[in-house]
Subunit: 243 residues, 2 copies
């Protein structure tokens, strides 16, 4: 163990923040740490939009299922996969930009490696963070607020601030359900691991919210209804070819 | 600055390793740090396949463009987005699993947050790492080696080992090309930033490989030809619905 691993293990999403803003110098330092992450053949397909205008942050709250923390946190960012720089270069040279699934996937992976470095840098300074997947609830409307150009794919939000809560640890799947040796196990093996985990997770949910719900129950509820079915159409309209 | 940010800034991909293996205890510690990363509504859609069989590691070398480091590094992993646990749960309850783009994207983001924590944990122990995007060169063949079941999406490889080289820093885009305030800049503004960067990048490439090539030249070459055009078909065959 070392101080960095300690920091990683201490991570919990923070959803309540003090009113303290985040100095620009801290933001720049964290972004430079984000840029230091691996990037596929140096494509650097990540852009971090720092949303500083009050009216924009307030406009995003109802578009993300009412997440007031977007307006209240110390700093709010929109993490984007970014193919626009590559498109501009290709266009300038009179060459068509290739936008197949590989190119989209590159931007998602690159942006997420960047974002996680950014998060760890902020946490190492004592800030708390929360990713906001709810940004994908209504991307057409989010886009109308932020006026994103073609080739820039908003993926999720990121709230950062001085923590004003100290939430419980949420238990994770047993390590031998996610670290697999050479081959994927049988369905019966995997379901056995899930059952054992359901037990722990149910205890956690009872303490946290009083609900008697295991992990598998939550996941079944989450994945039986198509969610955000408009999404592929949105990204295609932004220039991604997902074929 | 602090020790964690120092570590993030020191990152460079390592492509040559000593023959030292990595103790299982270090791998487990790094994976537990990976599990501590954020995960969308606790879906935990990441699986880390630890490839320990020599014959499998050797089989992957020609499938990734001849990357010998896959056979030579201390430990080799395949990072997978994993919807299979969710599918098993839904099937057991007699409910159809929803596989639209949102569900695929969740697995990519979750797996990549996990992977970057894993990487940082390994680097904090003194190991070097290299992501292997070349794993996506021939996924049908990779899949035949690893026998992946439906719903498990191999995304990239990860080599880890004791560094046997000390490569140069590769310069990154200027921070104001990736940290944007409120709105995306004009094309002319962005191209100006790219031009300034091309200058630095050309110096780096000359020192590293003797090639006189700027960043935009490399990117144009990379994105004008459709790469890995089979990819969407592969993931669809594994159960992802990218619509």
């Amino acid at each position: 163990m070392n101080t960095t691993i300690d920091l990683l293990l201490k991570h919990r999403s923070i959803r309540k923040y003090t009113e303290d803003p985040i100095p620009d110098e801290h933001i720049r330092q964290a972004v430079i740490a984000g840029q230091a992450a691996s990037t596929s053949s140096a494509v650097q397909a990540a852009t971090i939009l720092h949303i500083t205008r009050d009216e924009d942050r307030r406009a995003l709250v109802p578009l993300t299922g009412g997440q007031e923390k977007i307006a209240d946190c110390g700093a709010f960012f929109v993490v984007c996969g970014d193919s626009r720089r590559h498109r501009l270069i290709c266009e300038r040279d009179g060459m068509p930009y290739d936008a197949r699934l590989e190119a989209f996937l590159l931007t998602v992976v690159d942006a997420t490696l960047f974002a996680q470095n950014l998060v760890i840098a902020f946490e190492s300074m004592g800030y708390g963070i929360c990713y906001v997947g709810g940004l994908r609830n209504q991307l057409d409307e989010v886009d109308a607020v932020l006026e994103l150009p073609e080739g820039v794919y908003p993926l999720y939000g990121l709230c950062v601030g001085v923590p004003a809560e100290d939430p419980m640890d949420r238990p994770r799947l047993p390590i031998d359900a996610v670290l697999l040796r050479d081959r994927y196990p049988s369905d019966a093996d995997m379901l056995e691991k899930i059952d054992a985990y359901d037990h722990n997770y149910r205890d956690y949910m009872k303490k946290r919210s009083g609900k008697d719900r295991g992990w598998s129950g939550s996941m079944a509820r989450k994945f039986v209804e198509p969610r955000r079915a408009y999404l592929a159409g949105y990204y295609a309209a932004k220039g991604a070819d997902l074929t």
